[in-house]
Symmetry: C2
Subunit: 355 residues, 2 copies
């Protein structure tokens, strides 16, 4: 297994280059890079979850736009713009619930509109610059989160995390994992406890893999063991990511996060949520307004290619839950640390220019 | 699928009858009864976990002694006793860590010693009576636990349970599940939330199956969802079993129990432990003295016939954890309910003749 590169990266120039991915559907059993030389291959990669994680999907889609417009680089600009429109529509259908996908496609479309005088070949170059900017900004966001989070976990001998919030989900080091990577760099003895994260096992399949690749000591546990790991004083901090954060700091994240936040509180262990400022939705006052997606029964009853529950068994499978702001010691963003977690502190940090 | 009989039952007379089991290794995909007509088949059934659960193993072993001695029923008593000795030793090797196995074998051996004047055929009959007594006592223990526990959960619309503590683990209705069966009989609208119970999924494979067989409404969840289910007010009580209870009431049980006890407490939901008086070990002062078995990594990394974690990934896999007495609202035993859970209340109930 070679040392992994970025989950999403561009190879070559604008005219003939392509998007290079790590095929996450094969992990953790096999590491294979996946060359996306046509927009159809990019579309399929997003659709089939070869690339996943909101920021990584955004970056992949932006590069997908460049790949898709290569066929029109010798055409008159009008035909290039028509091709661009088709590519944007096509990629938007790859994963219709991914907010970052639409955000990235929208940004690429606006870039083209703002540069109406460029030739097609120049426009293709310009689109690649924009896609690389999206990637770079994501990378910088990850580094800033790692930098801001580091002082909070300095001195910890063990940190617990949940789901996957690392380099596989972003163009950089991730969100919660960025803090952990920064801490491990400073303290090579750091022990990371990774929840396997049922039902889809992102912790077992992806987080454990990333940490092992980076030579960070990781111990994989079942989700039900997290409380006992806290009781045994094996961890001094819990860090998770977030999918959506309300104006009051209530944070929606992978199912199991709510329990972890409560268990951490009961053990007097700091509980941190690391997420970019784009995760905040200030139009939502509190977590009770965040809709919780319920997913298919088979994720619980047949998740490992094998039936492990009675046929027809009823399940409850919420994809997310909400850690209340009162359980969160601090929010770690690329603009700085929000502590204590209050509505006014959140607004102040999001409005600041960042550090 | 036929309606299941007891997990362990005797069919026929002493001379030619046999032990009949439900083969639990095939559940929940297939229901198949397994006829144990030789002691070798009984040994294999215990070894391969076709029968599991401490009380059920004890009953199976007792009937296994009868099956094993059938070959000596026409021989002189001295040869019968020699055969009995061989059978007891042989069955003791089937699962060397199962305390109930040794307890049942010891009781069968003592019965034979106490009836030295019987003929071999009479002794075989006597051994069957003793084995049936063990089964009957276990069945009565289950009913008494159900009876004593019922008033505690009266009025609940939802109850959460963990692992398997039902008819498959005992000769009767189980321990925690006996209370749930009693409650469901009284309130057919009762909704039971069953934790799948990683790593070995006893909740998904066995508890969900038992409840569906008995037409009790069951909703299967991942262990990480239990806290959220409490938060959403879906359950008004949590009931679990126990493997070992210390003199102060600290209760060792399947991993995940500790977290559940703390989450229940944080949500102000009563947390009950249902277990026979034989589960108490008064020589142990508190839970900190209970050794915790650590099990193989592969239960976490390869549990479903498929690799779901990176090769060589380090794991922590404690089989049990300990719910502290301070988190337990009441202990439910066949001798009555112990509430509040204090050392003196435990001693008083265990010394009482029962109700």
């Amino acid at each position: 297994m070679t040392n992994p590169r970025s989950a999403v990266a561009w190879t070559g120039g604008a005219a003939t280059g392509h998007l290079q991915l790590i095929d996450q559907t094969l992990l953790p059993v096999e590491y294979r890079e996946h060359s996306c030389t046509t927009v159809e291959i990019v579309w399929e990669a997003i659709k089939l979850l070869r690339v996943r994680g909101a920021p990584a999907i955004g970056v992949a889609a932006a590069y997908g736009v460049v790949v898709g417009c290569q066929t029109a680089q010798q055409m008159p600009r009008e035909q290039f713009d028509e091709r661009l429109r088709i590519v944007l529509d096509y990629l938007a259908g790859s994963r219709p619930t991914a907010v970052n996908l639409f955000w990235a496609l929208d940004r690429m479309g606006r870039t083209a509109k703002a540069c109406a005088r460029l030739t097609s070949a120049e426009m293709l170059e310009r689109l690649l610059v924009e896609a690389k900017d999206i990637e770079r900004e994501d990378r910088e966001m990850c580094s800033a989160i790692g930098r801001h989070g580091l002082p909070l976990v300095r001195g910890c001998s063990g940190i617990l995390t949940h789901c996957n919030t690392g380099g596989l989900a972003t163009a950089g080091d991730g969100t919660a994992l960025a803090v952990i990577f920064a801490a491990a760099l400073e303290n090579p003895g750091l022990q990371v406890y990774a929840d396997e994260t049922r039902p889809l096992l992102q912790g077992a399949r992806l987080t454990a893999w990333e940490l092992m690749q980076r030579h960070v000591a990781v111990t994989l546990i079942c989700d039900s063991m997290a409380g006992w790991v806290m009781k045994e004083d094996r961890v001094q901090a819990v860090i998770v990511g977030a999918d959506r954060i309300a104006a009051n700091g209530d944070s929606a994240n992978k199912i199991g996060t709510y329990s972890l936040s409560m268990l951490a509180r009961a053990h007097d262990i700091p509980f941190y949520v690391a997420a970019p400022s784009s995760t905040f939705d200030l139009t939502i006052q509190s977590g009770s307004q965040i809709p919780i997606e319920e997913r298919a029964s088979t994720e619980i009853t047949h998740a490992f290619g094998r039936q492990t529950a009675p046929a027809g068994c009823h399940t409850y499978n919420p994809a997310f839950d909400v850690a209340p702001a009162t359980h969160i010691t601090a929010l770690i963003t690329e603009r700085g640390v929000i502590q204590p977690v209050t509505m006014s502190n959140i607004r102040a940090t999001l409005q600041s220019p960042g550090k």
